[in-house]
């Protein structure tokens, strides 16, 4: 094996320029895929992090049908106190659930006494909301997110558009489930940064103010946002919660609920899927590059060494040994390309990270792209390249091993 490797390496060195060109081609492909995937991963991670940690939570629980009507913020599809108790018991039984936040969502009118506009509001328990959305506090551009009764946090868009400042008193008018209108005076104590998302421009009030405004005797809940301690187990935990809640359904007492992960709630999921498809396409491109270049160089190698192959066969070298010799040569070429590619890709990622390029996404500006060297991902890409290099070598190597020695020896 060592000798075969030595012969393979020397043969690669024998055609140094060709080997280096092929290895460079493989390396360029590896760099392109590794850097693209790292950048795409950083972008997706950043956006998903913003969405889940500052708005949505990792998953949400609603009464069945609520999400389909979510744009209207219906007050007729709420979770009753009994149902909320069942959901809370189910969530507490899951060790993976880190925290959850009950929300009462409604639409209303926002007035600064001179102008009026529409507003979407979340009535929340501030401590629950801040535990479930750890990045929410960082979205507060002015003031605080720790709401008290009689206070409101408004989106930046509204603050700028209506000229409302911290400490100003405003009026929120809302229609309750029965159709009666009510109003409340609230003091602005925070201004929220805009985030690109359907709920990225919502305001916050204390849930008790929301209940009072909507004339609710008992707290009814529109949604429960849930944060897990391990995001990677999202689908598994969502499934467990779903099963738990289905088992708890009692007709007439506890209605049907639905559990959605962030993927089902945010349109960004489609962009993330598109990015994944692009990354996959880049990987297929890399596979094509490696396959064609390795196969081409190995076929050339076989054709140039026909007589040498004939000599080896004449000396009694078994076909499998000749096959192995060429496979190891192709493999060595792949390894060379991978080593160069991985090293340069890691360096490129570190340089990008050092520079910290900024970009804008929707209304969000100055987002910093911070890709990371993902060893597992690099190993996976390297393994794919290596496998493809072997596949690209098999046909030429098989051809070499099946040569008739008498024909090969006759070759020019």
């Amino acid at each position: 094996m060592t000798k075969l490797l030595k012969i393979a390496v020397r043969n690669l060195a024998r055609y140094r320029r060709r080997s280096l060109l092929t290895a460079s081609l493989i390396a360029i492909g590896v760099i392109a895929v590794v850097v693209f995937e790292a950048a795409a991963g950083a972008f997706t991670g950043l956006m998903v992090g913003q969405m889940t940690d500052a708005m949505l939570g990792h998953l949400q629980i609603h009464r069945r049908g609520y999400v389909a009507s979510m744009d209207n913020l219906p007050l007729t599809m709420m979770l009753t106190p009994a149902e909320v108790t069942v959901v809370e018991e189910t969530l507490r039984a899951q060790p993976e659930v880190e925290s959850y936040s009950r929300r009462l969502k409604f639409g209303g009118m926002f007035s600064n006494y001179t102008e009026t506009t529409a507003i979407r509001l979340n009535g929340v328990y501030p401590d629950e909301e801040l535990r479930t959305l750890p990045l929410l506090a960082s979205r507060i551009k002015q003031g605080t997110a720790m709401l008290k009764n009689g206070e409101i946090v408004i989106p930046e868009l509204l603050a700028n558009g209506m000229g409302v400042k911290l400490g100003d008193t405003i009026v929120v008018i809302a229609t309750n489930r029965d159709g009666s209108v009510n109003a409340a005076q609230l003091v602005v104590t925070g201004v929220l940064e805009n985030v690109t998302s359907p709920s990225g421009r919502d305001g916050y009030v204390h849930i008790e103010d929301a209940m009072s405004l909507l004339r609710m005797d008992a707290p009814e809940i529109s949604e429960i946002a849930v944060r897990l301690n391990d995001f990677d187990r999202l689908d598994q935990v969502a499934g467990t919660i779903r099963s738990g809640l289905q088992g708890a359904t009692t007709p007439g007492q506890v209605g049907e609920t639905e559990v959605h992960t962030w993927e089902g709630l945010s349109p960004f999921y489609n962009i993330a899927v598109l990015i994944d498809i692009l990354a996959l396409s880049a990987t297929f491109g890399l596979i094509a590059i490696v396959l064609i270049s390795v196969m081409n160089v190995m076929l050339m190698s076989v054709y140039e060494r026909v007589k040498e192959i004939g000599t080896m066969a004449a000396m009694g070298t078994m076909p499998r040994t000749i096959l192995g010799m060429f496979v190891i040569e192709g493999l060595s070429l792949g390894v060379l390309g991978i080593l160069i590619g991985d090293a340069l890709a890691a360096a490129a990622i570190l340089v990008i990270r050092g520079i910290g390029p900024t970009f804008n996404f929707g209304r969000e500006t100055g987002l910093v792209l911070s890709p990371q060297v993902d060893l597992a991902q690099m190993l996976l890409i390297s393994a794919v390249v290596l496998l493809v290099a072997v596949v690209g070598t098999v046909q030429p190597a098989f051809k070499a091993s099946r040569m008739e020695p008498v024909e090969a020896l006759r070759h020019g």
Binding site: E308, T311, M315, G316, E404
Partner: protein
């Protein structure tokens, strides 16, 4: 005691509608430890006969026994195993592997064909390089060696597996007279020392004169068997 027995041996090549009879009804025997030459003009069938004897090709009809093995019946793997065990080859163009040093070229069949252990391998390679007079060239690559040196390394490579038979196809055709004589004397000395049977093809009269037995081929037929020198 015969090492090679050919009986009614023929070899026919067919390319499209063209049919060429390269060997026609050859019958002969070659004893062990003999120094034999097949001579004849180009196209007389010398190389074809050596290829059949070395199990590189199969006869069309007839029987060819080499060391009691009917080489015409061997499949691909068995033929390779037979060659690795029984036959050493010396080629007109030396056919050394360019990426291996002189030492490694000689070592190759022991390492990758016979899988001999390292200490024995080293001892046998060094002994043969010494015996053929190129031990001082052991670390050089083929492109750093003269034709005579290359062919003597090829002789060492052919002998390193202790084969019963060495087949040499025009071994001196690419050498000047001095080197040709040196290679022939090396081969003969090795036959004397090791008792290996040497069969070579040539159309060089000076090389022909070195053989103890000369088979004359013409148009694929064996036309004469001549015993020379001490063997006469």
């Amino acid at each position: 005691m015969s090492l090679i027995v050919a009986d009614g041996l023929t070899k026919t090549y067919t390319t499209g509608a063209v049919r060429v009879e390269a060997l026609k009804d050859l019958t002969f025997t070659i004893d062990r430890a003999s120094f034999v030459s097949f001579v004849g003009p180009s196209g007389s069938g010398k190389t074809t006969l050596l290829n059949l004897t070395g199990a590189l090709d199969r006869p069309t009809t007839g029987r060819l026994l080499v060391s009691d093995t009917d080489v015409g019946t061997l499949d691909r793997r068995a033929a390779a195993a037979f060659r690795g065990r029984t036959v050493g080859f010396i080629f007109q163009e030396f056919n050394l592997i360019p990426v291996l040093t002189a030492y490694e070229n000689v070592e190759y069949p022991l390492l990758l064909v016979q899988h001999v252990a390292a200490p024995e391998r080293r001892q046998r390679v060094l002994a043969l390089l010494e015996a053929v007079g190129v031990s001082d060239q052991r670390d050089k690559y083929p492109d750093q060696l003269s034709g005579g040196q290359k062919q003597r390394i090829a002789v060492a490579r052919a002998l390193v597996t202790n084969p019963q038979l060495v087949l040499a196809d025009e071994p001196t055709a690419n050498l000047d007279h001095a080197n040709a004589a040196l290679v022939m004397s090396t081969m003969r000395r090795m036959r004397d020392t090791l008792g290996t049977t040497f069969v070579f093809s040539t159309h060089d009269p000076r090389v022909m004169a070195e053989a103890e037995i000369v088979f004359h081929l013409e148009d694929g037929r064996l036309v004469n068997r001549q015993t020379q020198g001490a063997a006469a």
